[in-house]
Amino acid sequence: MKRAALILPLLAPGCAGIQSANGRDAVQGALIGRLFDVFLGVAVVVYALVIVYLALALLRGRRHRRRESGLQGEPAPSLERPWRIGLILFASATALILFGLAIATWLTDRALAKAGAEAPLEVEVIGNQWWWEVRYQDPVASRIVRTANELHLPVGQTTRLTLKSNDVIHSMWIPNLSGKQDMIPGRESDLALHPTRTGTFRAQCAEFCGMQHANMALDVTVESPADFRRWYEAQLVPQPAPGGAAAAGYAIFQNRQCASCHAVGGTPASGQVAPDLTHVASRNTIAAGALPMSRENLARWVSDPQAVKPGNNMPKVPLSQSELGALVAYLETLK
């Protein structure tokens, strides 16, 4: 599956990271990977030929230099005949190789189109300045899951992402699974994914979108259809007001600035302009990949978002130490 590694001594030795086009962990990624191997193979061969031709030319030229025998001034056309034929051969060979590569591209395109034709699962991903809103579509409207900065996919099935943007141009790119597609405001584009290996991958915005373009990542988890179903049902469960220790944090969340932008299913807070926090504690990272999810990181993020992700749109809400602790305790319950 990682044949490329064999041909490519130069490329990283086979072991693809969680965000690498070498991963080829989906049908689309594998198809593109194979096409890349073909192109790379041809490129290496052609490059070798050119270097050999150049080396011979340099050596031959050096010998002419020494023996003053190379062609002079404006050589007679007859002496140039073999080179003219060589030129024609070279040009037609180049054209032929390119035509072959074009055919390979066309075949891959067709295979990609076929692979993405029908998709049982539809997901709408909306790019915002510097986070992802993810909505799992469902014929029954009440089963639509709204989450943020994470994407769960069932392995072995095709999922179609419909890509939109709320502000500037972003680009959804999960290197391990497939190529990227831009998210342009006023337009819709789509991306089909058919993962073939379970695991967690990292996607990142691939179109410069402003100050925090670097911290706009998405955690992609490919799991078995059963696990996916379990995760999906868990996401549908609302989080009503908790009792006990978290109640204080809940009160802060509802009555202070949080509810103006964030929403938590099952509570009055229904802000739409920031990530949905109904199951925030179940996610792997905070603030679109800026920090791994942990209690301290939650506290660090909430207490001063500008320190972690300078320039993002979350304000520094004035909280005392105890209020911060209570709020983080509440957020931890939102599994």
Partner: protein, 640 residues
């Protein structure tokens, strides 16, 4: 009108007026004025060319410093050396400076300086337009860098995609300054292109038919036509962006059925020809250098010229390969894949011809030839990765990643800067009259070549490993850390090698050994003129019999040009038969004043749209004064 020829008692060059006496008179006629005023009023293509070259190299240095800052920030994960806002300004300034303020102007510089010499004339056509273009270029560059220093540097990328660069998501005047800078530089480039096209078509030495023109002059002709056809596209796009940002038009507002993709189409319709505008002159340099150092005319002259034309033509048909990820219809993409692949054929053919020339010639491996070999080795890698990027599925994986950054550095630095450095070394004796040091030249070549590979080859791998472009930082443990460190370190070595090259230039300018007129025994007409050339280039306008004039025994010259006034001979376009005597415009300061007026209007139009109306009055006055017909300096005697 009586048939009798008017009395003709002007002093003309000829057999009886030649040698030192002629030089003195011509010197007096064609010299720039003395001191600062003379420098400002100069319309001599050589002094304008030198100014362009020096300014471009200064901007190369500034752009290089920015690149160094970026590499420090990216040398490891999570560095805090640069904040996101500062980093975004720096990478935008790096791209913009290198593309708009270095690459195109430096090729213009070489063209303005060399073309008149190479085609055997005394000045370019429209020399005042050339002067105006330099002042506009200088004003644009100053505007951008003064803004950058004042924290008003653009921060939306060198191609400022809307809506990020639009009125809502780019507050303040940053993107306005960028868009106005684009207006400045493309006015300058258009001016140079018009003047060079006219020069090449009408001012060639008698006998220099199109088939006998030097290949570099062919390249410049094609590049000038490309500039004339592509620059208006970005002019329109940047004016529409300014209108959207300042007076609230709806061009790119998707809500009012405008379209952000309109910007991308218009920009890349200019963008891709732009990169060929940068590469083709370099291809011209290589042809000249290879011809000089192998002692034979470049193999396949007509093939190379046709390849240059093909590249120029195809360059306009493949801009959508920058937009493969925007979700346009797949069938449309197929055409652009084909065009993007096809454009590599002419480049391949040229490389084949150059290597054939080396193979069959008697190459001397001086420093320029080293740069040519370095160019071939590097550019072919860039060309091959370019073919990969032409294929849509692969491009969807590597678009906007460091793989693309590697690709365009290979084709721009490898493809244009290497030949440029070779060309500067090759023509340095002609510019300054002194040779550059071979030793220092070799060291700086090998240092540049190796550190270049060390800097940019790892970027291919980092790009495939998933590192996107324009990120001010990246998390640890993604497999990118060591590769980025290698890139950063060798980037500094590369910077060092460029500084070494410039040092070699500065030292050799005074300390280098004296250079004869034709140190390399090259065939071009420019080597017939003195080193550095006299203000009038050639004492007598040469007559050209074949492609390699200086390699012929007899080199005839034409007589009969007036000497007390600036006069040139115009020849017909195809076969360069002498046609007219043309007075060449006198030095004047009006181009500078017109440029200043235009600068004031452009900059103040960022702050109030009224400036466009009010500002155009001084421009009108300056242009009227510039073009005010003064009649011939010594009027022909009126026949009584």
């Amino acid at each position: 009108m009586s048939e009798e020829r008017p009395r003709d008692d002007y002093l003309r060059d000829g057999p009886n007026l030649t040698g030192a006496e002629l030089d003195a008179v011509l010197d007096e006629t064609w010299r720039d004025g003395p001191g600062l005023m003379g420098w400002i009023r100069s319309v001599d293509h050589k002094s304008i060319g030198k100014r362009y070259l020096v300014t471009a190299i200064v901007f190369l240095g500034l752009g290089g410093i920015l690149a160094a800052l970026m590499r420090i920030q990216l040398s490891g994960p999570g560095h805090h050396f640069l904040g996101p806002d500062r980093y975004n300004q720096i990478f935008t300034m790096h791209g913009t400076t290198m593309m708009f303020l270095f690459a195109v102007p430096v090729m213009d510089a070489m063209a303005i300086y060399l073309v008149p010499l190479m085609i055997g004339t005394r000045n370019t056509a429209f020399p005042r337009l050339n002067a105006f273009s330099y002042w506009m270029y200088l004003a644009g560059g100053t505007l951008l860098w003064v803004a950058f220093v004042l924290n008003v540097g653009p921060d939306a990328g060198w191609f400022s995609y809307v809506p990020l660069a639009g009125p809502e998501y780019s507050p303040g005047k940053r993107v306005d300054i960028w868009a106005q800078m684009v207006t400045f530089t493309e006015v300058a480039a258009l001016a140079v292109a018009v003047s060079l096209t006219a020069t090449i078509l009408k001012k060639r030495a008698p006998g220099m038919t199109l088939a006998r023109m030097p290949i570099f002059v062919w390249a410049i002709l094609i590049v000038s036509l490309m500039v004339i056809l592509s620059m208006p596209s970005v002019a329109l796009a940047s004016s529409m962006l300014l209108a959207d940002r300042l007076v609230g038009t709806q061009f790119y507002n998707s809500y009012e059925l405008g379209d952000p993709l309109l910007w991308q189409h218009l920009f890349w319709f200019f963008g891709h020809p732009e990169v060929y505008i940068i590469f083709l002159p370099a291809a011209g340099f290589v042809s000249e250098i290879v011809q000089a150092y192998t002692g034979r005319q470049t193999f396949g002259y007509t093939t190379i010229v046709l390849a240059l034309c093909a590249t120029g033509l195809l360059a306009f048909g493949l801009w959508v390969h920058h937009m493969f990820a925007t979700g346009l219809p797949r069938l449309g993409y197929a055409f652009y894949t084909a065009a993007s692949m096809a454009v590599s054929i002419p480049a391949g053919i040229q490389i084949f011809c150059w290597i054939a020339t080396i193979w069959t010639g008697r190459p001397r491996f001086m420093v320029p030839m080293l740069w040519v070999v370095g160019f071939i080795v590097t550019f072919v890698i860039g060309g091959l990765t370019g073919v990969m990027l032409a294929s849509v599925p692969i491009d969807l994986q590597v678009h906007d990643t460091y793989f693309v950054v590697a690709h365009f550095h290979y084709v721009l630095i490898g493809g244009a800067v290497f030949p440029l450095l070779g060309a500067i070394t090759y023509w340095f004796p002609k510019f300054t009259g002194r040779m550059m040091s071979e030793g220092l030249g070799k060291v700086s070549f090998w240092l540049s070549f190796l550190s270049f590979q060390g800097t940019f080859f790892p970027m291919h791998i980092v790009g495939i490993e998933g590192m996107p472009r324009r990120v001010y930082t990246y998390p640890a443990g993604m497999g990118w850390d060591t590769l980025n460190l290698i890139s950063s370190i060798s980037a500094f070595v590369f910077a060092g090698s460029v500084i070494l090259f410039v040092a070699n230039m500065l030292l050799s300018m005074r300390g280098g050994e004296q250079a004869p007129d034709n140190p390399w025994g090259a065939p071009g007409l420019e080597w017939k003129a003195a080193s550095p050339p006299r203000p009038y280039n050639h004492a007598h306008i040469p007559i050209v019999l074949d492609n390699t004039p200086l390699w012929n025994a007899e080199q005839p010259v034409a007589y009969g040009l007036r000497v007390e006034d600036r006069e040139l001979v115009l020849t017909t376009v195809l076969d360069a038969r002498p046609d007219l005597r043309e007075p060449s415009p006198e030095p004047t300061a009006w181009p500078l004043i017109a440029a200043l007026a235009t600068t004031v209007m452009f900059i103040s139009s960022i702050f109030t749209p009224w400036a466009v109306a009010i500002g155009s009055v001084p421009i009108g006055v300056a242009l009227i004064a510039w073009f005010w017909p003064k009649g011939p300096p010594h009027p022909d005697p009126v026949i009584e």
